[in-house]
């Protein structure tokens, strides 16, 4: 079997990915593709990226053996890749640093970003402050209401948050609006996409920046456990933290790859965001991938307790990994995720993000079915401080 080397030069992962954008964006994407192609092999760029990750983000993030929780579950050992310990509290910063460094080299002084829960917006505002760039964050007006704290964080960091009033006023509409800004201001503007979606080269570029997660894990597993895990488990909205962990392991066929989507109120309801489990292939936001859509090809609103998973698309590489059978995708409901959130708080003294709680919830289901010497590596992609108001509300409390 030959080594995995997707996407191809046109940005395709099998039938997925590609460059499905209007002509007005083509030359900007072409420019980005050329520049990235150069810098991904440029030693200076890569060493600056590594330095920033080490000194600014605080990498490498440790792998922590959740012994008490594993014992409680009574099966496989659960290990946590602690992306929650990164600066700004999630994996998102790995990618925004990479893209901001690229933006600087391309001479762009203005960066724009879309955000749903606000995590990518905060990560973008953070790096814009760090490198002295103007930062505009597009955010659906519904999300702005739900995520007031993160909106204020972005403002404190000097970013301008622009409310998006079109469509469902959520993440997908923020992405549309950011694209519209980009096409209008392409000369001085760099669009920092927050996940492994969008037109080529974004899915590949974001994956490469996030691959630090899996690359570190490979070394750490060997050092700390003298072997690689039996399975990797990560939540999938757009899928950047999952692909970051999975990608370096794709050719290691003995390692099971499990992506966990948001089943919301149940995949048999119309309130979920389980794109790979329930969606159909189509074209949105510049790439061909699975989408949650109605019979006429209109994109429909999704639901998840975690805003970060509340997206009707998914990265094209996940679509391909699903179709070719290399990865499997499961879904976890709001209630199951919430239970995992509380359990991790109580058993390990770690408050996970609600997104990551989906991965934890699946690990809690899977671990008891396996012998105690099996190792499950779960990507703890973010910390849960941002979710306290949501969790309190679910418990009938107001903070």
């Amino acid at each position: 079997m030959s080594a995995y080397d997707l996407p191809n030069k046109n940005g395709h992962f099998g039938p997925y990915g590609g460059i499905f954008v209007a002509e007005t964006l083509i030359s900007a994407l072409e420019d980005l593709r050329k520049q990235y192609e150069f810098y991904r092999h440029d030693a200076n760029f890569q060493s600056e990226f590594a330095e920033e990750l080490k000194h600014y983000v605080g990498r490498p993030s440790p792998i922590y053996h959740a012994k008490r929780w594993s014992e409680h579950l009574g099966g496989a050992q659960i290990l946590l890749k602690r992306e929650d310990l990164n600066h700004t509290g999630a994996h998102k910063i790995n990618n925004t640093i990479g893209q901001a460094l690229l933006a600087r080299r391309m001479g762009k002084k203005r960066v724009i970003a879309e955000t749903g829960a606000g995590q990518h917006g905060v990560a973008s505002a953070t790096v814009a402050a760090r490198y002295g760039m103007e930062c505009i964050v597009y955010m659906g007006s519904e999300d702005i209401k739900r995520q007031a704290t993160n909106v204020y964080r972005m403002k404190l960091l000097g970013a301008t948050v622009v409310p998006v009033e079109s469509g469902s006023r959520t993440l997908k509409d923020a992405l549309n609006e950011a694209m519209r800004d980009w096409v209008t201001n392409v000369e001085n503007t760099f669009y920092i996409i927050g996940t492994v979606a969008g037109p080529h080269p974004y899915p590949m570029m974001v994956r490469d920046f996030q691959a630090v997660i899996g690359n570190e894990a490979k070394i750490q597993m060997q050092e700390d456990f003298t072997r690689q895990p039996d399975a990797l488990i990560a939540c999938v909205g757009g899928g950047s933290n999952a692909i970051g962990l999975f990608y370096p392991y794709i050719d290691d066929v003995n390692v099971q790859l499990i992506g966990v989507e948001a089943a919301g109120k149940g995949i048999d309801t119309d309130q979920h965001a389980a794109t790979l489990s329930m969606g159909r292939p189509g074209v949105l936001h510049g790439n061909r991938t699975y989408l949650i859509q109605d019979g006429n090809g209109q994109i429909v609103e999704t639901h998840s307790i975690s805003a970060g998973l509340d997206y009707p698309g998914v990265g094209p590489e996940h679509a391909w990994l699903k179709d070719c059978g290399r990865a499997e995708y499961v879904a976890i409901t709001d209630d199951e995720a919430l239970e995992a959130f509380h359990t991790l708080c109580r058993y390990e003294g770690i408050m996970p993000a609600l997104e990551s709680s989906h991965a934890l919830a699946y690990a809690a289901k899977y671990a008891p079915t396996l012998p105690k010497d099996k190792l499950l590596l779960v990507n703890l992609s973010g910390r849960g401080d941002k979710d306290m108001a949501t969790v309190a509300q679910m418990s009938g409390l107001t903070l």
Binding site: G18, I19, F20, V21, T24, I26, S27, R180, V283, I299
Partner: protein, 287 residues
């Protein structure tokens, strides 16, 4: 030689031939050229403000001087459109207007108009949901002449173009101020009907058209493109329409018409849109 090809051959020589219907766009441009006139191509979104007005609006556009109609297929995520056309899409979607409904509207329009070319303009996903092949077959059956899918750039369009070609539908493509020469040549090979030149950077409905830039770029495009070239984005009044018509083969007007639809009541919708089109027509035709 099978029966179909004999039929095709016969119809080629026949007055009532199918070619009349399949080459409406080319025919329209040829006719205009003879008269030394330029095409006016208005855009409306099917189902805006309500599906019951779409056919009436289409006839009104023709009566007021439209040569070709671009009919927008509503989509939930119109990434390349400005706020005006986004709103028109949202209004149509409130009435659940699907691609299938749009095709039915075209078929209905064809019952009383067999000459005016109809170009569908929209986004990829509704086409993907129907399937490219069944879409093309159905579109042809309903009397569609050309299709422009904004997010099918040439790179992703080889099968798409073949599929349209098989059903004798023109594949319309966009070119923009940033399209470089190699791509212009590529598009020149794939495109049929006419080329839609997007006259400025940004989304539909923007308003800062630079005529000098348009002129320079069109001269460059004409070195590679023999098809008629229509210019759109940023044309909001008779003066600009006239100026653009002098440089190009066709003037495409969208957002300005949608604005007129937005501010009209049900009773004056048709007359307001009619007056606007007539004013643009007169401006374009004026010597």
């Amino acid at each position: 030689m099978n029966l179909d090809s004999i039929k095709n051959l016969l119809s080629f020589f026949s007055e009532q031939s199918d070619t009349k219907r399949t080459h409406r766009i080319a025919k329209t441009f040829a006719g205009l050229k003879e008269q030394n006139r330029k095409a006016l191509i208005p855009f409306i979104t099917a189902g805006d403000p309500h599906p019951k007005y779409t056919i009436q609006l289409m006839h009104q556009l023709v009566q007021s001087g439209a040569d070709i109609i671009e009919l927008g297929v509503p989509f939930s995520d119109p990434m390349a459109d400005g706020p005006t056309i986004q709103r028109s899409s949202e209004r149509a979607l409130k009435h659940h207007v699907s691609l299938d409904d749009v095709l039915k509207l075209v078929a209905e329009f064809r019952k009383t108009n067999i000459n005016t070319p109809i170009v569908l303009m929209g986004y990829a996903n509704p086409v993907e949901a129907l399937g490219q092949v069944s879409f093309a077959a159905k579109a042809r059956e309903c009397g569609v002449d050309g299709v422009l899918i904004v997010d099918y750039p040439p790179e992703e369009s080889s099968e798409w173009v073949q599929c349209l070609e098989q059903h004798q539908i023109d594949a319309i493509f966009l070119l923009s101020p940033t399209t470089h020469q190699q791509r212009i040549e590529q598009v020149a090979k794939m495109a049929k009907g006419y080329i839609y030149y997007v006259s400025l950077k940004g989304v539909t409905g923007a308003s800062h058209l630079d005529l000098q830039d348009v002129s320079t770029k069109l001269n460059q495009l004409r070195q590679y493109i023999s098809l008629p070239i229509g210019v759109g984005f940023g044309i909001r009044d008779g003066v600009t329409a006239k100026a653009v018509a002098e440089l190009s083969d066709a003037v495409v007007v969208g957002s300005r018409i949608i604005e007129e639809i937005e501010k009209s009541s049900e009773s004056d919708l048709l007359s307001n849109v009619g007056s606007l089109i007539k004013a643009l027509r007169d401006a374009i035709d004026k010597n």
